[in-house]
C-alpha cells in the first residue's frame, strides 16, 4: 500500500541524511522525498511517499520517531488529505504538435512557462497520479526532459501537523 508520511524535523545539518539513511539501512522504499523549511525556520517539513505492508509502515513511523532530530511523524494517507506535486516537462513542440501540446496542457490545467521555436516547458501541479496521466497522454518521443518535486501533502480541515 502507498503511504504519504509527513515529518517535522529540526532544521539542522545532517537531519535529512538521518531520515534518508534510515530508509536505506532498513531496506524501506522511498518513492519520492521532498523537504523545505516551514514558517518557523528552525523546523523542516519532510514528506516521503513509501509503500509497504501495515507492519512495515508501523515500523517506519516508529523508527522515524526514534530519530533524535524528528519531532513529529504522521501518516497523511491514514485520513482525509490533499497531495500535490509540481512537474516541469520540456517537450519538442514543432508543427502540428505545437497546437496539440497546448491543448493538452490546458486540459490538465497546466501552464506553458517557456516557449522557443521548437520547445515548450509545461508546468503542472497535481497529484502524482495525474502527472503520470499527463506524461502518458503525450507521445513519448516528444518528451525531452521531466523534473518533478515529489509529493507534498497536508491534512484536510482541522488535521494539523505542528509542534
Amino acid at each position: 500500500m502507498r503511504h504519504i508520511i509527513s515529518i517535522l524535523l529540526e532544521n539542522e545539518a545532517g537531519a535529512l541524511s538521518r531520515v534518508a539513511g534510515l530508509f536505506s539501512a532498513r531496506a524501506y522504499n522511498i518513492e519520492t522525498l521532498t523537504v523545505a523549511p516551514t514558517e518557523d525556520t528552525s523546523l523542516s517539513r519532510l514528506t516521503i511517499v513509501t509503500s509497504g505492508t501495515d507492519a512495515v509502515i508501523e515500523q517506519i513511523t516508529k523508527q522515524l520517531n526514534k530519530l533524535i532530530d524528528v519531532i513529529k511523524v504522521v501518516d497523511l494517507s491514514e485520513a482525509a488529505h490533499i497531495e500535490r506535486e509540481l512537474m516541469l516537462i520540456k517537450v519538442r513542440a514543432t508543427g502540428k504538435d505545437r497546437e496539440e501540446l497546448k491543448r493538452l496542457a490546458d486540459i490538465f490545467r497546466g501552464h506553458i512557462i517557456d516557449v522557443t521555436e521548437s520547445t515548450y516547458v509545461v508546468e503542472l501541479t497535481a497529484s502524482g497520479a495525474k502527472l503520470d496521466s499527463f506524461i502518458q497522454a503525450i507521445d513519448a518521443g516528444l518528451i525531452l526532459e521531466t523534473v518533478r518535486t515529489g509529493v507534498c501533502g497536508i491534512g484536510r480541515g482541522e488535521r494539523i501537523l505542528k509542534v
Binding site: G21, Q59, V163
Partner: protein, 570 residues
C-alpha cells in the same frame, strides 16, 4: 565568569558529568584536548593501544556499572578505528559518549590530512551524533550527548569537534538540565495496558517470563526478581539478560535460543502467555519467527523502545515504558488486588517443565586425557564462587560461559550479544577491572578472538589490571568449525588456526604471568593458582581443549525453537 578554551570546556564538562575514566589515544586533532587533560588530575586517562579497544573498554565500564562510558579519539583513522566499538555498543544499547577530534572547520571537505566524515560514517551506528562547529555550542552539546546516551533506550553518542573549536575561547556555562522538543522518552507505562497484562498473567495456564538486556540496562533486576517470585512463573534470560534473575534459582530455566536449554526453549514455544521484558525477539532467541508465531500464545511486551515492539513478532499487549517503573506498577496491582495465580494450574505446568529439565540437556562427556571446555567453565564458576565479573569474546567459548557460569546478579556478564564482535573480551575486562578493583575479573576467550585485541595486554600492564584470561584454545575458530561440520560436510575452510603464538611466552613478554594447561586434572589447580596466588597479576591461562567439542543444544538457523539438536543426536 572566566574564558575557557574549547579543550578546557571538554574536560570541564566531563568533570561535571563525574567521569572518572576516559579511554583514548592522542593524535593531531585532539592535541589541545590532551593538553587540557594533562593539566588536571580529576579524570584519569587510560591509554589503549588501538582505538577500537578504547571504545570497547569504555563500553565494558558502562556495562559493568550504571555509568556512561567515555572514549576520546583523534580524527580520521582514530575515528574509523572506533567504529567497531561504537557499533558494538549500539547493538547492545550501551550508553557511551565518544569524543572525536576533527580537522579545523576551514579544512573540512578539503581532503585534509587525517580527515574523514566521522558524523557520516558513524550515523547508522549511533543513537545520535553531533559535529560542533562553534565553541559556544560545545558545553550544551556535550550535556545533550550525556543526556541522550543515558536516557530512554541507551546508546552511544559521538561528538565530533574540529580542532579550531578546541582552541577557540568562550565563557563556560554548563546547563543543569536539558529539554529537547524532539526527544522525550516515555517512562511510565500505560496503566490500562498494565492492568490488562496483569489480568492476563493471572489467568494464564502455561505462563512464561522472557527477559533481555533491557532489564539490566534499566536496573530493573530487583523488580523482576520480586515479580517472578510473587507469580511463581518460570523465567528465562537471554544472553544479554543473564543475571537479571538469579541463575541458581529453581524458577530459572536457563538461557533460551540457538544454544538455549531444552526447558527454556520448549517453555517459550508452548506457553500460553509470554511476558517479554526488555527483549527484542532476536533471531538467535526465537529462531524462525513464522514457526514461533504459528503457535497460539498471547504476548505481553514491555519495552522502552516502541520500535522493538511488534517488530519481528506480533504482540497482543504492548507496554511502552521504563522496565522498573512498569514492573513496580504490576507489583502494586498484584498487592492491591491480593491476587495470585491458581497454584494447581501452575503446578501442572511446572510438572511438564520439570520433565523437560530432567533431560539434562547440558550434560557432556568428560575425557580422560583432554580438557573439555565446558569443564573449564564449571571449574571457573566453582573457583570464583560465582562472584566474578565474566567477560567473553564471541564464539563457542562465549556460549559455554553463558551456559555453565551461573549469574546471580546483573552486570556480571559482559559480552557482545548483538553485533557479535570478536575482540571485546579483553578491553571489556579492562573497563570492568578499573570500575571494580575489588572484584575478580575473568575474560573467557578463544585463541581466535583474543588475537583481535591482543595488543591490550600492554595497556593492562601499564595500569596493573589483574585480569584472568581463560583462553579455551582448540586451534580452531570453533563456532565456524562447528557450522562447517554440521552444515558444510566437514569442509573446514579457513577455520583452523595455524601458527599460533606461544601464549605463555607472549604473556610473559608483556610482563604478565602465563600458564599452559593441557590435562583435565590441572584445570582447577591452575585456576586456583591464578585467582588466589596471583590475585594481583594478569594471568593468561592457555587451556588446550578438545578440538571436536561442539555447543549443544543447538537450533539451526531458520529452524523453530523446538527443533533442537542435542548431544546424543550425534
Amino acid at each position: 565568569m572566566t574564558m575557557m578554551t574549547g579543550a578546557e570546556i571538554v574536560i570541564r564538562c566531563l568533570q561535571e558529568e563525574k567521569v572518572e575514566y576516559v579511554f583514548g589515544y592522542p593524535g593531531g586533532a585532539v592535541l589541545h584536548i590532551y593538553d587540557a587533560l594533562f593539566k588536571q588530575d580529576q579524570i584519569k586517562h587510560i591509554l589503549v593501544r588501538h582505538e577500537q579497544a578504547a571504545v570497547h573498554a569504555a563500553d565494558g565500564l558502562a556495562r559493568s556499572s550504571y555509568k556512561v562510558g567515555v572514549a576520546l579519539v583523534t580524527s580520521g583513522p582514530g575515528a574509523t578505528n572506533a567504529v567497531t566499538g561504537i557499533a558494538t555498543a549500539y547493538m547492545d544499547s550501551v550508553p557511551l559518549v565518544v569524543i572525536s577530534g576533527q580537522v579545523p572547520n576551514a579544512y573540512i571537505g578539503q581532503d585534509a590530512f587525517q580527515e574523514c566524515d566521522t558524523v557520516g560514517i558513524t550515523r547508522p551506528c549511533v543513537k545520535h551524533n553531533f559535529l560542533v562547529n562553534d565553541v559556544h555550542q560545545l558545553a550544551v552539546t556535550i550535556k545533550k550527548a550525556f543526556y541522550i546516551a543515558n536516557s530512554g533506550r541507551p546508546g552511544p553518542v559521538v561528538v565530533d569537534i574540529p580542532k579550531d573549536v578546541t582552541a577557540a575561547k568562550c565563557k563556560f556555562e554548563y546547563p543543569e538540565t536539558i529539554q529537547m522538543r524532539s526527544y522525550n522518552p516515555v517512562i511510565k507505562g500505560h496503566l490500562g495496558q498494565i492492568k490488562k497484562a496483569v489480568h492476563m498473567l493471572l489467568e494464564a495456564k502455561r505462563p512464561m517470563i522472557y527477559t533481555g538486556g533491557g532489564v539490566i540496562l534499566s536496573n530493573g533486576a530487583d523488580q523482576l526478581t520480586r515479580l517472578t517470585r510473587r507469580l511463581g512463573f518460570p523465567i528465562t534470560n537471554t544472553l544479554m539478560g543473564l543475571g537479571a534473575y538469579p541463575g541458581t534459582d529453581r524458577q530459572f530455566l536457563g538461557m533460551p535460543g540457538m544454544h538455549g536449554t531444552v526447558e527454556a526453549n520448549l517453555a517459550m514455544q508452548h506457553c500460553d502467555v509470554l511476558l517479554a521484558i526488555g527483549a527484542r525477539f532476536d533471531d538467535r532467541v526465537i529462531g524462525n519467527p513464522e514457526n514461533f508465531s504459528s503457535l497460539p500464545r498471547k504476548i505481553i511486551h514491555v519495552d522502552i523502545d516502541p520500535s522493538s515492539i511488534s517488530k519481528r513478532v506480533k504482540v497482543d499487549v504492548p507496554i511502552v515504558g521504563n522496565v522498573p517503573d512498569v514492573l513496580d506498577e504490576m507489583l502494586r496491582l498484584l498487592e492491591a488486588g491480593n491476587a495470585s495465580p491458581d497454584s494447581g494450574v501452575l503446578a501442572a505446568w511446572w510438572q511438564e517443565i520439570e520433565e523437560w529439565r530432567a533431560k539434562q540437556c547440558m550434560k557432556y562427556r568428560m575425557k580422560k586425557s583432554i580438557i573439555m571446555p565446558q569443564y573449564v567453565m564449571e571449574r571457573l564458576y566453582e573457583v570464583t564462587g560465582g562472584k566474578a565479573i565474566v567477560t567473553s569474546d564471541v564464539g563457542q567459548h562465549q556460549m559455554w560461559a553463558a551456559q555453565y557460569y551461573k549469574f546471580d546478579e546483573p552486570r556480571r556478564w559482559l559480552n557482545s550479544g548483538g553485533l557479535g564482535t570478536m575482540g571485546v573480551g579483553l578491553p571489556y575486562a579492562m573497563g570492568a577491572a578499573l570500575q571494580h578493583p575489588e572484584m575478580a575479573i575473568a575474560c573467557v576467550t578463544g585463541e581466535g578472538s583474543i588475537q583481535m585485541c591482543i595488543q591490550e595486554l600492554s595497556t593492562a600492564k601499564q595500569f596493573r589490571l589483574p585480569i584472568k584470561i581463560i583462553n579455551l584454545n582448540n586451534r580452531y575458530l570453533g563456532m565456524v568449525r562447528q557450522w562447517q561440520e554440521m552444515f558444510y560436510g566437514s569442509r573446514y575452510a579457513e577455520s583452523y588456526m595455524d601458527s599460533l603464538p606461544d601464549f605463555v611466552k607472549l604473556a610473559e613478554a608483556y610482563g604478565h604471568v602465563g600458564m599452559r594447561i593441557d590435562k583435565p586434572e590441572d584445570v582447577e589447580p591452575a585456576l586456583r593458582k591464578a585467582f588466589i596466588d596471583h590475585k594481583d597479576d594478569l594471568v593468561f591461562m592457555d587451556f588446550i581443549t578438545d578440538q571436536k567439542a561442539n555447543v549443544f543444544p543447538m537450533v539451526a538457523a531458520g529452524k523453530g525453537l523446538a527443533d533442537m539438536i542435542l548431544t546424543e543426536d550425534l
